[in-house]
């Protein structure tokens, strides 16, 4: 049976990758008039990377083949 932690890893990794890609896009092509506060911190860049790394760790650690 696939571990619940594997599903969580997939969720974090996919969401992290999507958020990171949005962050990279905004870094390359920043909006002229950002509509959020603290845009200069580029939170989606580092938060997305963090989620992606955490998700990949879970995916590898709880991969179905490894568990069985």
């Amino acid at each position: 049976m696939i571990s619940i932690w594997f599903f969580i890893g997939v969720s974090l990794a996919v969401n992290g990758a999507l958020i990171l890609s949005a962050g990279i896009y905004q870094l390359i092509d920043p909006p002229a008039d950002p509509d959020i506060v603290l845009f200069n911190l580029h939170a989606n860049l580092w938060w997305g990377a963090l989620l992606l790394i955490l998700g990949l760790i879970y995916c590898v650690r709880f991969a179905p083949r490894r568990q069985s």
Partner: protein, 567 residues
Amino acid sequence: MMLPLASYVATQLVHLSSIDIVIVIFYFALVLSIGWYLKGRANTGEGFFMAGREMTAWVAGLSFLSANLGALELMGWAGSAYQYGILATHWYWIGAIPAMLFLALVMMPFYYISKTHSVPGYLKLRFGEPSRALSAISFAFMTVLMSGVNMFAMAKVMQIVLGWDINFSIWVSSVTVAIYVTLGGLRSAIFNEVLQFFLIWAGALLIPILGLYEAGGWANLKLQIAARASAQYVHLWSGLGSFTANPMGIHWTGIVFGLGAIISMGYWTTDFLVVQRILAAKDIRSAEMAPIIGAGFKMMVPFIVILPGLLGLGVLPEKLVPESAAAVNGGHSFNDVLPLMMARYCGPGLLGLGVTALIAGFMSGMAGNVSAFTTVWTYDIYRPLINSKGSDHHYVNMGRWTTIIGVLVSVGTAYLVMQFASIMDYVQALFSFFIAPLFGTVVLGMLWKRASGPGGFWGLLSGTLCSIGMWAWVKVDPSALRYVALSPHAKGLAQDMYQALWSFLVCVILTVAVSLLTEPTPDEKLTGLVYGLTRVPSVGEVPVYQRPVFWAAVVTTVFLVLNIIFW
């Protein structure tokens, strides 16, 4: 008089980018996939209703917490923090931690040893059929109302944040929950709750981090709140010596005895919605550790719920108003503070994750209600009162149909809830009706072997009627609040605290009195159900750091330190 939500014209706060929409759609696809994957493991009664009783302590513990981390937690308490300040944290600390530890160390062994399917099921074993019927019917009633509250809150936030049609939100979320719970039963609900727990943290944690950065740290935030509201908004206990010295209009006795000793004990130890997750644990040590793990994380939840409310008070340029004022004059209400903070800090991608966190919170609460309702209906109402001769397969089918019907009833309830003035006060009133007396009955049943069947039934019934009676009295004559809550300055939440306290006392007094006047239950019938007649199995030969008592002591220490820091 509150206007119905339908007449509330909200201004859309944010627009989702395509990447945000992909994140939301991915979430729905994942939860449905989990339900589909688990459908083969829900073909027996134990598999469908109890998740096979094979959950680890971590899965059961996070699910236990996540089932409670629904709409009210995320949006309602952030709004309460804006309205009442840090006092709202009491509902997470003294209003949860002692009760969770009490459940783990004192009550869980009896639930677990009795192998009951539900809390009403325990009452059947301990007090007989009438107590079970009363408890099961009241629980089922409360559960569908709670589920409707969740849907209402979800649909409202989607309308405010995204401009989504309220009917669309209700139906999409409810159909999704119906599918994955119908397919995979409690196991599917638990798996998705653990997933939702992670998503909620991933989506909500950035708001307090960025908010504290913007405010210049906690010390600066306190100064801003003192300037814009009152210095009392950041003190947990120092303003509770008098009803008039704090924003909530409550006395410390209400918090300690009403909330800490009765309402929270009732909710966390006898509300089957949360207890069901622990009953699915694989062994006694996991069953005891699960609420302790839940308590550890519960202490941290104010960071993503209460702190955003306080940050809203400190940094938002506009002043939020009560819901009734927002409906009449426009502007945003207290309950909008979390989406407003999200819109303030979250760009593309993060916004999608934040919205997903909200949806996940709403759906986990709804799934928790539906799965608990299904079990209680099937095992505690349908089987004993309607059809006691069905096969295991028949009851599983009944569970699946009940899931669908429960969701439909909840949808109807969601539309009903729109007529009520305040989500929070409404739910608190419900807790007071049923939970406080139920706690009195269950705890006496577990700890006092002389409590008899008639004593349990009449105590539970009188406590519930007392609670409803006090609520109705104040509704008809608001000045009666001075008698119920001991002060003319008391407000809604304070009323609920004292109402719970009185109904608990009535329940206990009646239970004791009737028990002493009726025949005691023979000891042999109470083995495994009552303290003193039950041999509690050991958690096994494990090191100290793996023992539930050790971690309960750690959680207690952190709990005390936090209360002192924010005194």
